[in-house]
């Protein structure tokens, strides 16, 4: 019996998600130094969350796994000194990809009938999102390598930027969801 397109998508996306989680865990554990046990623990929990998300069809497990693997990467990078890790933009894009793959696999488990022929295929959306994320993270990484002294005014401007970002996202989300 041939598998339905939804079942194929669910299995493929789920398998890629688990592979991505394993790869991100391995990257986090490289040169972890004294932080290795913490990184290992976080990566293991992330892998369990990924498998749970794929197996039980819980799309919200994607961001959780991404957050845990991001924390594992950060804990290991803190042991590597002050220099910016060149792999960070790739890890950042991979985290988004992991979250979306888990969500794709979970959303394909639906009992609903999926009408084929989406205007923009999901694979294309995911590829573009990952590619754009990589470019944006690389640009940001290049920006942060510019030597700028750290003082109170700069920290305050960073905090303002964070507050503005939060306010912008919350405001946009509320405005969009209010329209029915």
């Amino acid at each position: 019996v041939p598998a339905s397109p939804a079942a194929r998508a669910r299995l493929t996306a789920g398998a890629f998600a688990v592979v991505s989680a394993l790869a991100l865990g391995a990257v986090s554990l490289q040169d972890a130094g004294t932080w290795r046990p913490i990184a290992l623990g976080l990566a293991a929990i992330a892998l369990v969350v990924t498998i749970a998300g794929v197996g039980l069809g819980l799309p919200a497990c994607g961001p959780v796994a991404a957050g845990l693997l991001g924390a594992a990467f950060l804990s290991s990078s803190s042991g590597r000194g002050a220099a910016l890790d060149a792999r960070t933009p790739f890890v950042a894009a991979a985290l988004l990809l992991l979250a979306e793959l888990i969500a794709w696999s979970a959303e394909a488990r639906t009992q609903a009938i999926l009408v084929p022929g989406a205007p923009v295929p999901r694979l294309a959306v995911l590829t573009v999102a990952a590619g754009t994320s990589l470019v944006a993270a690389t640009l940001l990484a290049a920006l942060v390598t510019i030597p700028v002294g750290r003082d109170l005014a700069l920290t305050a401007s960073g905090a303002t930027a964070v507050a503005l970002l939060t306010a912008m996202l919350v405001g946009l989300a509320q405005r969009r969801s209010a329209r029915t």
Partner: protein, 411 residues
Amino acid sequence: VTTRWPTFRIAAYSSLAVLGAVAALVLGRPEPALLASPFALYLAVGLALADERTAALDPATAAVRPRQLRAVEGDVVELEIDAPPGSEVRLTVPTGLSPIGADPASPRVARFAARRWGAHRVGRMSVRTTDPLRLFINETPVDHRDTVRVHPSAATLRRAVAAAELQRRVGNHTSRARGDGVEFADVRPFTRGDRARSVNWRASARRNELWVNDRRPERNADVVLLLDTFGDDHAHRHASLERAVRALAAIAVAYHGQRDRLGLLTFGGQLRWVPLGLGERALFRVVDGLLDTEILLSSSWDEVVRVPIGALPTHALLLAVTALDNDTAVRTLIDLRGRGFDVAVVSLPLPTDALAHTDLGRRLVALQRDARRLQLERLGVAVSTAASLDDLPVAIEEVERCRRRLPRVRA
């Protein structure tokens, strides 16, 4: 009305973005902000696109169309879904249909097995669309209903109860009258107007004068099936209706095979009738009438039903299928018999265990049924009981046997 709500991405991705930015500030390192940047970018782009790309779905652009409007129990019913590409469709299907999985070759067709007879209304669904980055879900309910009529898989009856009076149309019953036909009746002396081919040459040679053969013509009958939907308890009424509809469907098919004219009268929830008709079309109308009975079952009527004279043709056989559990139904049958109609009854009672929990109660139910049965039999109505649908052919035979003993009636 389209309902819209955010997916988990809005809360989760914005949390990750803010957490990363705050961690970068607190730790004084750029990595957390870099790791969170794709989530912030995804949200920003997604929210910008969501405004323009997502529009409320026009319900007129989506529909569910059954590929066939009629099926028999056990058949596969296919529903063709017309919805925007890329959308998710959630169908609301009645309990009589159960999903058996989609055909991978035609994903726009949902397949269901017809599990139970009835007039199943399909067409209710909700169509979900999302924006390209799946930040919001828009759900639009669609309700263009069609009715799929699932006929009961009727048992095969070899014969049905014969009507006392036959009609003038050609049918399968051998009439008692004499005329053109196949069945030999008698010989009689030749009279003016007799056809030459009717002459019985052997009898004529023996008697030395012309004698002719008399034959019996084949005629059909008018039969009105009566469905009793009376009942005190809703659950019991459903259970007895289930059996009665199956029995009447089998009986209707048997009469159709005998080329009789068929009609239907349902009394109980509402008085409804299907006028007499002949052939396949009449059979479908009668079965459709049986299926519609369930839809109208919710209303109640506990007075004696006065069936209008026009609804019941004279000389028609009224064959009722009833559980004999309700006085109103029995009084209605008595009323019809009192008006001179030829009435026969097949009783399909529920087991007494279903109606009473104590031994005394069960005995009481059985006595009440016997009393009602006697009431009918005293008026010359043949009544037979089928404990289950498997006993239906025996019950039909029993009615037939009783009717031979009982005096004939005329409307």
